[in-house]
Symmetry: C2
Subunit: 377 residues, 2 copies
């Protein structure tokens, strides 16, 4: 009945993590056949779906229908939209719902939504009975190319973002590329910044390809699937090498040290800046800072900025609406970022497009002087 996956217009990325190995399927229409993939890959026949109001309104009933058709008993919980949903209270609500649904070790929690739902539902799946199966159905571009792959889960606390969580790999990821059509253009662009990131880390040819094909990626069609597949494969490669981020996985933070500081400086107010936009500005800054340290050519920074701004992403601090706090406050946010060890700053720098590396011991004074200069241009 079910054609073997992946089908001709789909892509499959395999995460070779030993007994935690799993597949990522990428293509249009995957929600409609989630039930078939579920029963052919998982032992259990029950599922607890977690979603948010935006996504649930559109895609929950097609998903429930598909699961039901294939004999998977599913219940669902729809949570409010937004970053605030990643809270301890909602972790309690989700775990309680999952236990009420009698989800056993071989049954699954299904995350249907963006990174917020994925992080929260994945955390719950990781702690119910010390770990039940977990299926990611990422619906935002950011979730499809980044947060649904790699097993990081978490919630926010009053002390900061993502401070509580577990590593819990999914057992299956279904990235339905058709659902991205209902994503707002701004959220699509934000996810696209992370796609560009993979090119800038170590795939110069991919960055060049994006420069030529980004319009098709935005419009949908085979290029979109291709870009998502390359991104998932890139993240998969890093995760397989360094599952728990003790080394190489840090490269995925290219643009994120500056980006996180800008998010903090705008008090995580998404009307001013969303994560991917901070990353876009951060990647430009990382290239300029590398040029300032005579590691890379300033032309590379200009080329990165040109591409990001062509697709409509911000690339300069002054692109952010409203006032930014003084540079000292930005520096404090940078120093509080996780990538600081023993007082010294760890940064992802670059020798050129697709030649990023982890730099320990970057002097804070250099960063400060650079940021000061950037603002006053």
């Amino acid at each position: 009945m079910n054609a073997p996956s992946p089908r001709p217009n789909e892509r499959l990325v395999h995460l070779a993590l030993g007994d935690r190995a799993y597949d990522i399927l990428i293509g249009p229409g995957l929600i409609a056949r989630a039930g078939g993939e579920f029963i052919s890959r998982l032992k259990g026949r029950r599922a607890a779906i977690i979603t948010d109001e935006n996504v649930g309104a559109r895609y929950l009933s097609p998903l429930m229908d598909s699961l039901q058709t294939d004999g998977v008993e599913a219940v669902s919980l729809t949570l409010p939209v937004g970053e605030k949903t990643k809270s301890f209270d909602n972790l309690a609500a989700v775990t309680d719902m999952v236990l009420s649904a009698r989800i056993e070790r071989n049954d699954a929690v299904i995350a249907l939504g963006g990174g917020v739902i994925g992080d929260l539902a994945g955390f719950a799946a990781g702690i119910v009975r010390r770990g039940v199966r977990f299926v990611q159905i990422p619906t935002s571009l950011l979730a499809q190319v980044d947060s649904s792959v790699g097993g990081k889960t978490g919630i926010n606390t009053r002390h900061g973002k993502n401070l509580l969580g577990v590593f819990h790999q999914p057992d299956l990821v279904l990235a339905d590329t058709a659902v991205l059509d209902s994503l707002s253009p701004r959220e699509f662009r934000a996810g696209y910044a992370e796609i560009v990131k993979y090119g800038l880390i170590d795939k110069p040819y991919f960055f060049h390809w994006l420069e030529r094909h980004w319009k098709q990626v935005f419009e949908g069609g085979p290029e979109r699937i291709e870009a998502i597949a390359v991104s998932c494969q890139a993240k998969a490669d890093v995760v397989v090498e360094d599952e728990r981020e003790t080394g190489r996985r840090a490269l995925l933070n290219l643009g994120h040290t500056f980006g996180h500081a800008l998010e903090a400086a705008t008090a995580y107010d998404s009307s001013r800046l969303v994560h991917g936009e901070g990353v876009a500005i951060g990647m430009v800054l990382a290239h300029r800072f590398s040029a300032r340290l005579n590691l890379a050519s300033p032309d590379d920074a200009a080329r990165v900025a040109a591409h990001l701004s062509e697709v409509g992403l911000p690339t300069e601090m002054w692109d952010i609406p409203g006032e930014l706090p003084p540079t000292e406050i930005l520096m404090e946010a940078i120093a509080q970022d996780k990538k600081v060890k023993g007082g010294k700053l760890t940064f992802i720098l670059t020798r050129g497009i697709g030649q990023s590396f982890v730099a320990d011991e970057v002097p804070a004074s250099e960063v400060m002087a650079f940021l000061e200069g950037m603002r006053n241009q």
Copy 2:
């Protein structure tokens, strides 16, 4: 300054879990030198201590003094005594306190107490920043020989016991055998039941040794240290072979299927039955049930019962004060126990003392008839 550990009157058990390997030190006076062990084995210099009111009143300040002397900055949180402390609310309180104390990945959460504190604090350590270091200082006999070893952590929910948690191995276990002197005789006996369990699983010689030396184990001295070390080693061996309980680790549940059913039947009222007492009765029942199935001699069951009752543990269902519910209700509790797969009962049975094995597909009707017979003798 610090003599190398273990010192002459101490024992060391090593858990060879690859990059999660750790040592268990067993001996009198280890709390007084916790600071030295901490700094020689962990990179961080901060600690958040979690304890309960009973244990904190006695051992918190010696522990704080020792850490301070060796330059470890420590803060503490003292929680109420008892099983109810393993709650979601306390998980929130502990994680908040640990984050306030700015515990980073290389710093540690320290559990100072019995299994309740160990399970709760270990869970918190497993989720703060997706895992910070964890030091167990078990103070009950049960915690020293069982719960502090192996990395299972958890809390209770309205749906049942230990339904939320993670696997998070400690980085160091300090079992100070001197603190057991302040444990109530009843709690000591309950922990002793778990020691006997290791003999009954696969160490007949250890069971024989306990029959001869149990008085010295209760009184303290080298036999106590020896019994705890053998128990830790036994649990360590099983954990190393099967860290996530997919197979052999199930043997550790000898006596626990019946035991858990009796705990549920007495509504976890510790004035009627504590866990170790349930396990004592459960082990006798497991041996008798094995005899009924013609797997073992009834003499073995009698010998097990004789030893457990000699030390003052209950061995019969009628030893439990108050009425027990009808056998049907006991059977329901058995069927709800985690060791049930696809409707069939999984039991730990035995061919004799020290010859336990995992039996799948035990017919529920046999168990029911056996239990009915036991009550009406």
